[in-house]
Structures are given as structure tokens and as C-alpha cells.
Subunit: 232 residues, 2 copies
């Protein structure tokens, strides 16, 4: 099974500490990491249930057990807190999807299947982070919003690249819709946007990965290869 590394909440908070050392006034790394994890986990919990805007810092203080003043040792404004979280999410996407294992890059179809699996597994392990990013990125100041869009387009570009390579190599059915790379994204996003629904219906990650791969491949592979695919 595909293994991904470096995005436990521990890893992510450690990365946040480094990235925002200028704004975080707590010096001792052990203390800082421990508290930051608590604060971020509380922030994700509250934001994902009522929205980031609707979460007041008093809510966050109560949920995390850190006082108002204490919170401001970890960020200098509520908007900074938002950006700190969003930055880690896009960072994780770039790091994971941008580094495919060497054995898949030579075959565009294997690469495509890997991208689908890696994306779904990553969002599964970082589920609250992705829900947060998806829900909140829209509602914010022009600056932050535009790079949220950029990040979305960057992911899509990975699918567009691999699709273009497959077409150039004659591995896809002629005339397959040019919208294919665009349409993969919403299928991947549904896994974390509607996570509760899939949990309720007992759909496993593996089920979902297989379903998306099936749908995408049947859309783009040459017709004469589909029988073999279905037979597996």
C-alpha cells in the first residue's frame, strides 16, 4: 500500500513553528510544539463545525484551554492563524504530489493512477486540514484567495500534464473530452468535503480510490482495453 510521510499533525505544527518563528513568541520548542498542536486542533475542530469567521477567539480559548493572551503568543491576528493553516495544506500537496516515485513517472497511466491514489490518501490523513482549506479559502481577502486559486490550479496542472503525455503517447482514446483533467478534481475533493457521508455509508478509502480510478480510466482508455480492465 502507498505510504506517505511528513504530514502528521506533529510534522505540520513543527513546520508551522519554523515558518512563523518571527510571529510566534514562545521560545522553548517543546512547549511551543505541544501547545501549538492543541491550539490548531481546537481551531480545526471549531472551524469545521461552525466556520472560521463564526469561531471567536474566546471560543478557541475555551476549547483549547489557552487564555486569550496565550493565543496571541502563537499568532498576531486571526487572519495570520488562517494563513498559517492554509500554508501547511498547500505545502503538503506540493510536497507529496510533486514527488511521484520514480517507477510511475515513465508510464503516464500508472502516474495518473498514482496521482489519484496519493491525493485521496493525503486528504484522508489530513482530513480536517483539507476541509478547512476548502471551506475557508473562498471567503477571504483578495490576497489569500488568489493563491488558494493558484494552488488549486497547480494541482490540476499535474493532472493536465500527465493527461497530455498520455495523449501524446497515443495511450488514450482519440477524442476524449479535454475537460477530463478538470473533472478529476471535484471527484477527489468530494472525499474530504463530504467525508461524513462516506463514513456513514462505510465506504473505505480503498473503495473510493478504486471507484475514481475506474471512472477516470474508463473515460480515457481506448475502448478495446476496457474489457480487460473490467475483467480484473
Amino acid at each position: 500500500m502507498l505510504e506517505l510521510k511528513g504530514h502528521t499533525s506533529d510534522d505540520l505544527c513543527r513546520s508551522m513553528l519554523e515558518r512563523h518563528a518571527d510571529v510566534i513568541s514562545v521560545q522553548k520548542p517543546v512547549v511551543a510544539l505541544k501547545k501549538l498542536k492543541i491550539i490548531i486542533s481546537a481551531a480545526l475542530k471549531l472551524s469545521n463545525s461552525k466556520g472560521f469567521q463564526a469561531m471567536s477567539l474566546r471560543d478557541l480559548s475555551k476549547e483549547s484551554g489557552v487564555s486569550m493572551g496565550g493565543l496571541y503568543a502563537y499568532f498576531d491576528s486571526k487572519t495570520t492563524l488562517l494563513n498559517m493553516i492554509l500554508t501547511e495544506v498547500t505545502g503538503a500537496v506540493d510536497r507529496v504530489l510533486g514527488n511521484p516515485p520514480p517507477e510511475v513517472v515513465s508510464d503516464p497511466i500508472e502516474h495518473l493512477k498514482w496521482l489519484i491514489e496519493a491525493h485521496i490518501r493525503l486528504t484522508e490523513e489530513m482530513q480536517p486540514w483539507f476541509s478547512f482549506a476548502f471551506m475557508e479559502a473562498k471567503n477571504f481577502p483578495a490576497k489569500e484567495r488568489s493563491w488558494a486559486v493558484d494552488s488549486e490550479e497547480l494541482t490540476e496542472a499535474l493532472f493536465a500534464d500527465v493527461t497530455a503525455r498520455a495523449i501524446a503517447d497515443g495511450r488514450f482514446r482519440p477524442g476524449v473530452t479535454p475537460l477530463l483533467p478538470t473533472m478529476i478534481k471535484p471527484l477527489l475533493q468530494d472525499w474530504y468535503v463530504k467525508r461524513a457521508k462516506y463514513r456513514r455509508r462505510k465506504v473505505s478509502v480503498e473503495d473510493y480510490i478504486a471507484a475514481v480510478q475506474e471512472m477516470v480510466l474508463t473515460t480515457c482508455l481506448p475502448v478495446d482495453q476496457l474489457a480487460a480492465l473490467a475483467a480484473r
Copy 2:
């Protein structure tokens, strides 16, 4: 081309006036309709750019040109305003998708294609309303949220029904993923959630409808029918 009726902003606001006559204190229908249209359109504009929570009633007052007191002649709380809009959206979905033309209901595959087209065309014409519903439904009190989920599941149920009929009739490939009806929804939603992206890329409604139909049908039709489909 498929024609849908009864969901211009005029129709929708008229319906809002009837449905919430108890809460709207303005008596003269002509005046009420005119102003309500202005208020709702301003509310959708502001909400879709900064989020419903972040839209203050002072923003809304300024944008619509209606005073604070004036606004409260049309709703008795900000939450009521939210519900008034959401109610019209789910109402339109039920009305349109629940009434397929007689000529398609006998054939599950035609019915499926019609559902896809009707959903995308409806969300195209009511785009700001659907964006609003999608973005805001999540962040709200248990009551409103649960029926937002219900409404989502109801739409999905229509796809599940028609899929089940197609399978019973032997019209689908054996072993097609049971997740198919679930996965159609995010494809349909992408049209209004990421409307700006598709506009920027000059993707027309017709293009998008065709692409979704292609993707769905290639996933579920028997392999020996796909060549014919591709040839069209």
C-alpha cells in the same frame, strides 16, 4: 434545447413573498417584490464574495440602498434571510428534477442524461443562488444544516433510482461501481462552485453537459456500446 421554467429571480422572489408573508410586513405586492429583488440580489452578491457571516447588515443596507429598519420589513433576523434563500434553492431543485418530461422516464439512460442536463442548466440559471447554498449550508445551526444534507441526499436519490432501474433492466455494464450515483453529484456541483474558472476558460454549458454525460455513460454502459457512443 431543454427549457426550464419558473426560476427567474422574479419567480423566486415572488415565491419568497408568499412563503414568508407572516414575516414580511410590507403589504403592497408591487413594492414588496421590487424591493425584495433588490435586497436578495445584493445579499447574494455580497455573500458570494465575502461569505454570509462576513456580510454585515450595514453592508447589505449600503449595497441595496435600503435602510437598516427597511431591511427588517423583509425578514425578522439575519438567519431568517439565510433560510429564505436556501428554501427557494431546494424548492427549485425538487420542482425541476422531480418532474422529468414523460418521454424520458421510460428509458433509464435517457432519464439519466436528462437529469444531468437539467441539473446543470438549472444551476447555471440560478448560479448565485446555488453558490450561496453550497457555501453557506455547512456553517449553520444543526437544524438548517440537517435539511441541507437531506436535500443533497434527495438529489442523489434521484440518480440512485435511475441507476438502479438501468441495472435492473440490464442496461449497464455488470460490476459497475456502486458509488456511481454518489460520484455524479460532485461533477454537477463543480459547474457552479467553480463557475469563475469555467467562464475564464470559455467552457460553455453545452460543453460541460456533454463532458459529464460522456464520463458517466462511459463508466456505466456495456463496453460493446461505447464504440458507437464515441463515434457520434
